[in-house]
Every structure is written in C-alpha cells, then in structure tokens.
Symmetry: C2
Subunit: 158 residues, 2 copies
C-alpha cells in the first residue's frame, strides 16, 4: 500500500509532516479466529465474539470480532505506519466511531487515513493537534469501521 506520501518515516515524523488533504493507505492485517475468541474472552465477553456455535444462531449468523478488537488491529496499523513514533504526546480522544459491517475470522483489514486538519497550539507553540479521518476497510474494500482521531504532536525541533 502507499506509504510514500509522507516526507519522513515514523521515526522522524513531526507535526509539520501531517498535511491536510493527503490520504494514506496502510495494511494489511489478518483477523484470526483464535485471537477473536481470546480478545473477547477478556475484553468483550459476548457469545457472538467468544462462542462459534452459539454465534451461528446470533444476529450475524456466525462469529464476529469485537468492535474493540477491530479498533486494536486498526491501532496497530496506525502506530506502525501513520502516527509518529517520536513526536506523539497523547490523544485527547476520538469522535463518531461507527461499526458499519461485521468483521469475521478470515477477513483482512487495511486502513485509509485522511489528514483533515492540523492546528498548531497557540498556548504551546512547540506542538499541534492533528485531526484524521480513519476508515478501516476489509478485503472487499468495504468500510467496516470509521472514526475521527485527534493526536497531539510535537513540532520538528521542539
């Protein structure tokens, strides 16, 4: 996938490198049934995520991944390819997270990230807030999860 738009790798990426309007695409990552069950057994113990037999009679006619595991797989790709490894200070939060389609064992996910806004802080000029629209896509290129992310990042040379 195209990671070439960024002028710098994650190890040398700063606030200035997030240019509004640019679209990045990263991935892939596989959804494994054993991980779906293990994740949900700890973090989302519902039978549609933990019990393949019971899930057959559930609303999705089969086992689906916890939406929070989909978020976790997204975050792995986001850290590996998009978020600076040296300038990220924190995330204040996310907006309008939507789970649009079920994610099933055997699916392959990628992410498409659009830089929506990059605003330098007035009170702390060594940093800024980057707003990104994140789409998690399956192997059929259908969005399975979307949300808007906020990340606080240091400026180059701060």
């Amino acid at each position: 996938m195209n990671t070439g738009y960024f002028p710098a790798p994650v190890e040398d990426r700063y606030f200035e490198d997030y240019v509004p309007g640019i679209i990045h695409r990263f991935g892939e990552i596989s959804v494994e049934q054993a991980e779906v069950i293990a994740f949900a057994s700890r973090y989302d113990p519902q039978s549609i995520h933990t019990d393949p037999e019971a899930a057959l009679n559930g609303p999705f006619n089969g086992l689906i991944a916890s939406g929070w595991m989909t978020a976790g797989l997204m975050m792995r790709l986001y850290c590996q390819h998009y978020l600076s490894a040296v300038a990220s200070l924190a995330s204040p939060g996310i907006d309008e997270l939507r789970w649009l389609r079920p994610v099933r064992p055997g699916d392959t996910l990628s992410i498409q990230v659009t830089v929506k806004d990059a605003r330098r802080s007035r009170t702390k000029p060594d940093r800024g807030i980057v707003t990104s629209y994140v789409e998690v896509m399956n192997q059929a290129d259908e969005p399975v999860m979307t949300f808007t992310a906020m990340n606080m990042l240091l400026c180059r040379g701060a």
Copy 2:
C-alpha cells in the same frame, strides 16, 4: 457497587429495562502492568505503553495503559453488568470518546453508566436504541475516559 436499579439481571434484560435518567455504577477491575505491556505490544505498540524504562522519560513520566485497553476493561464491566446478555443485537458506534487522565499499572477502574435515551424503532418495533453516557473512573473517583454509547436491543417478548 449499586446494581440494584435494574429490574432484571443481564440474562433477562431487555430494551424496556433501560430507563432514561437512571445511573448505574459497576466495578472494580485492576490494571496490571503485565497486561498493559502485552495488550500494547499487539494493539498499540508505543513505548509509553510497552517499555517502562523509556516511558519514564515520556510525556507521562511512566508507563500508561493504551486508551484502547482502558476501553477493553470498560467493555468487560459493561458486558458483565450493564449490557443485556440476551437482547443485544449490535452497537452502531460511540460518540465523543475522551481520554481524560492517564491510566497506570496499579489503578483500579469502575464504570458509571447513565441511561440517556431509549428510543423504540419505528420500522422494527421489536427493538430499540439505548443511548448511554459512560464514565470510567479510577480509584480516586476521577474520570479517566468518557463516551456516549449506542446499543440496539430487543424488546421483551420479541
């Protein structure tokens, strides 16, 4: 904590049992360093979540849990105590997730859930959407994460 407001346990809880205005409090769950590192190594590989030594020099002066792990611990409590185990169809998504304070190994989390709205579907009258405001609190009763949840639930007898 107070789970007495619900007229029915999670195994027999339906759309009608979510009454707007009622506040529920559930927990606790502990934040363990080994789990913080293991979770982040897979789902949020940033040194502030995976490397206690490096995190000492990071923006939080020590290891903190991935915000997505905090979400996972929240979801465990939410499933165990709040969300129906028999009537939950799906969640369309969440809004305005905010990570307000760092969560550290040794912290103990609980959740406070306020039923904000319960709206029966017009097109499918056997179900409705429940909107809930979720606050994750630490042992000092400070909110560490908040968001608004949406859950689609079957009505009793559907």
